[in-house]
């Protein structure tokens, strides 16, 4: 296999919050991302899935340097991004782009669709010919399924799905090599979600992008991912290739996420409700459980899980899991 384009090693982001008022000031540390490592090849898609608070969006931002990591390295094409000066990092951003969750809120309401899409071109190539910019903008609109004659319309004249297409066009206008999509469909209607997922998949193939697709729902990333990382409280619980994960998840948390997805079939859905899969909420990030982070909610926990932290380890299949009981649990779907 050729070399990975992106290599993330032991990446960690810690937020510090102050509590206790002026006179009893206390610092509390929140480990949002805690030692994430993975590699990504050109043309490959990694799905990142977890509940809110799992650190998936922070991870996405830390990779792009939008949040400064406290530890670890992000290597892009062999070059370390974490050590780069601001201007050098900015130049790199031509190759590394992001699509945000809320398609309407992330577009400037006072700019036309065309201006929004073309803005990165003006920023990075201020001397580019006006006609050339317009041509490229229209081309991008066509590529993401917008009509080029909508170029002078404002965001409010588009539906949510169309706004997300504008966001995608903008993120692709500089010809990036890596695209990170942070919950790009969770604010959209079901029928439109499918359109956007299909569009992302087509574009990725066409452009040979390396793609990181963040979502809270395993059913959403299934169609687009080659591998999926399941995150919980800032750590990777499992990193598996798609076929393995959806046939037989290795981690009880992956299994619980999968069982939580509603089945659009009344009889199957009622039958599946026999057992409750995931009780309670994620523990407070300020009071991280000892041992396995997931043990407080895990139906399969044993004594050992409360004391020993399971390392993320490689199984024979080539998939990675952080669970003491991965060998003896059969979580086949």
């Amino acid at each position: 296999m050729n070399k990975p384009v992106l290599r993330v090693q032991d990446l960690a982001v810690t937020f510090t919050s102050m509590t206790g008022g002026v006179f009893r000031r206390k610092q509390r540390q929140l480990r949002a991302v805690d030692g994430i490592s993975f590699e990504l090849h050109a043309g490959e898609t990694l799905g990142v899935v977890g509940e809110s608070g799992s650190g998936k969006s922070t991870l996405a931002r830390a990779i792009l340097g939008l949040i400064e990591p406290n530890r670890g390295r992000v290597q892009w094409m062999g070059e370390d991004l974490t050590g780069l000066e601001e201007e050098a990092l900015r130049q790199k951003r031509k190759q590394l782009q992001i699509v945000f969750q809320d398609p309407v809120a992330s577009l400037n309401p006072r700019m036309t669709a065309g201006d929004i899409i073309a803005e990165p071109l003006w920023t990075f190539y201020p001397n580019m010919e006006r006609l050339q910019v317009e041509e490229r903008t229209r081309g991008m609109m066509k590529m993401v399924g917008l009509l080029p004659n909508q170029i002078n319309r404002y965001p409010h004249e588009f539906s949510g799905g169309q706004c997300q297409r504008i966001g995608i066009a903008r993120s692709l206008v500089l010809n990036p090599k890596l695209l990170i999509c942070d919950e790009p469909v969770s604010a959209l209607d079901v029928s439109i979600q499918a359109q956007i997922i299909n569009l992302m998949k087509t574009l990725q193939r066409k452009l040979g992008l390396a793609l990181i697709f963040v979502a809270h729902d395993l059913s959403v990333v299934r169609h687009i991912s080659d591998r999926v990382m399941v995150m919980y409280m800032g750590q990777a619980m499992e990193v598996s290739c798609k076929t393995d994960l959806y046939r037989r998840p290795l981690h009880p948390y992956s299994n619980a996420l999968m069982k939580s997805v509603a089945i659009p079939d009344p009889k199957l859905a009622r039958a599946a409700r026999q057992e409750s899969w995931l009780t309670g909420d994620m523990p407070s990030p300020f009071q991280r459980p000892k041992g396995c982070l997931f043990h407080t909610r895990c139906p399969y926990r044993v004594k050992r899980c409360e004391a020993d932290v399971p390392a993320l380890r490689r199984m024979e299949s080539g998939d990675w899991v952080a669970c003491h009981r991965a060998e003896d649990l059969d979580l086949s779907i």
């Binding site: 359109q195 619980a256 509603a262 909420d281 779907i333």
Partner: protein
């Protein structure tokens, strides 16, 4: 027994760009103890339909038609009369639990206010009742947690608090508008669990409003599918999921990504976008996105009805159905 009967309900909004027809000629009935899901994309009018019933439309909104609750028309009631029904007999839960809760008051304060107002209980009685409701929606340590503020609860717990508040006065009808859309799948599953349990244990009727058909498969008796302000199909839950008639319903079902099936490479979609309510097409409103559109779809499609309460608005014939002749009255005037 019929609890709610809605007939010819229309909602319009005056906007600077023109009149938006948000809901057109909606008619349906809801029986006691029944769970009805109203499904549609954003802009389908599903929320405005119930907002109109409850007298909660925005200022530029106008509603007409009737919505009889226990035989009395909600649409004709004075704000005072409506107030005595809301909360007491009909409770509503909204999508975002954080904006529906007052951040400056403890959960206790917010909950017992409702009970004292509507049921005239003493403070201690009201408090005991509130704790009991929190326990019913599976808030751990309810005696402790009732003293906390909304920000000390997680998103899923806040929504469970909202449900508990809705249940305080033991309403006959609970309306939940996208109760779990903003929440994680795991929490969605918990809320679904909770609603399933409520259906078993109470005789309360429930209206669930959602854009996600999958979310209501398990917990509804009947489903209404809305598109661009209109009813396009209705039927019991098995009919809708196993024998959908309208191409829109079929498209919605097909576009749900499923984990219980082998994945195709490409997800099924409904192409295009919902129509602009300011410039509604004549004839079938779904026409432009429909894979089975024909020439006659430029005309207004007929409403098929069957004896068991199924309906479909489409030129494609509905199995076991006949064309509703009286349909012209509740259709659009044009």
């Amino acid at each position: 027994m019929t609890l709610l009967r809605v007939a010819g309900l229309e909602v319009r909004f005056d906007t600077p760009d023109g009149v938006v027809k948000a809901v057109n000629g909606m008619s349906f009935e809801l029986n006691e103890g029944e769970t009805l899901a109203i499904v549609g994309e954003s802009g389908s009018g599903k929320s405005q339909l119930v907002m109109a019933m409850m007298g909660l439309l925005a200022e530029n909104g106008h509603a007409s038609g009737c919505a009889e609750f226990h035989g009395k028309d909600l649409m004709q009631m004075s704000p005072r009369e409506l107030n005595s029904i809301r909360g007491r007999h009909i409770a509503m839960i909204f999508q975002d639990p954080m904006t529906s809760l007052n951040p400056f008051l403890t959960i206790e304060k917010q909950m017992i206010e409702v009970v004292m107002h509507h049921q005239g209980l003493s403070r201690d009685e009201a408090r005991a009742h509130a704790v009991e409701m929190l326990r019913a929606v599976r808030i751990p340590d309810p005696e402790e947690r009732i003293r906390q503020y909304p920000h000390e609860y997680s998103g899923g717990m806040r929504q469970r608090v909202m449900i508990a508040m809705g249940l305080l006065c033991e309403p006959e009808l609970l309306i939940a508008d996208e109760p779990s859309t903003a929440l994680d799948v795991t929490v969605q599953a918990q809320i679904t669990d909770l609603v399933a349990q409520l259906r078993k244990q109470t005789r309360m009727a429930i209206i669930l409003i959602t854009h996600d058909l999958a979310a209501v498969a398990e917990i509804s008796d009947r489903i209404i599918v809305m598109y661009a302000g209109e009813l396009v199909e209705t039927g019991n839950v098995e009919d809708i999921f196993y024998r959908p008639q309208h191409p829109y319903t079929q498209g919605l079902l097909a576009s749900v990504p499923r984990l219980d099936r082998v994945a195709d490479d490409e997800l099924q979609t409904i192409p295009g976008n919902p129509p602009n309510l300011l410039e509604l097409p004549s004839g079938c409103r779904f026409r432009d996105r429909c894979s089975r559109a024909m020439e006659q779809c430029l005309q207004r499609p007929p409403l098929w009805v069957s004896d068991d309460g199924r309906k479909s608005r489409c030129f494609l014939p509905m199995e076991g159905g006949r064309v509703e002749q009286a349909d012209a009255v509740d259709g659009e005037a044009a």
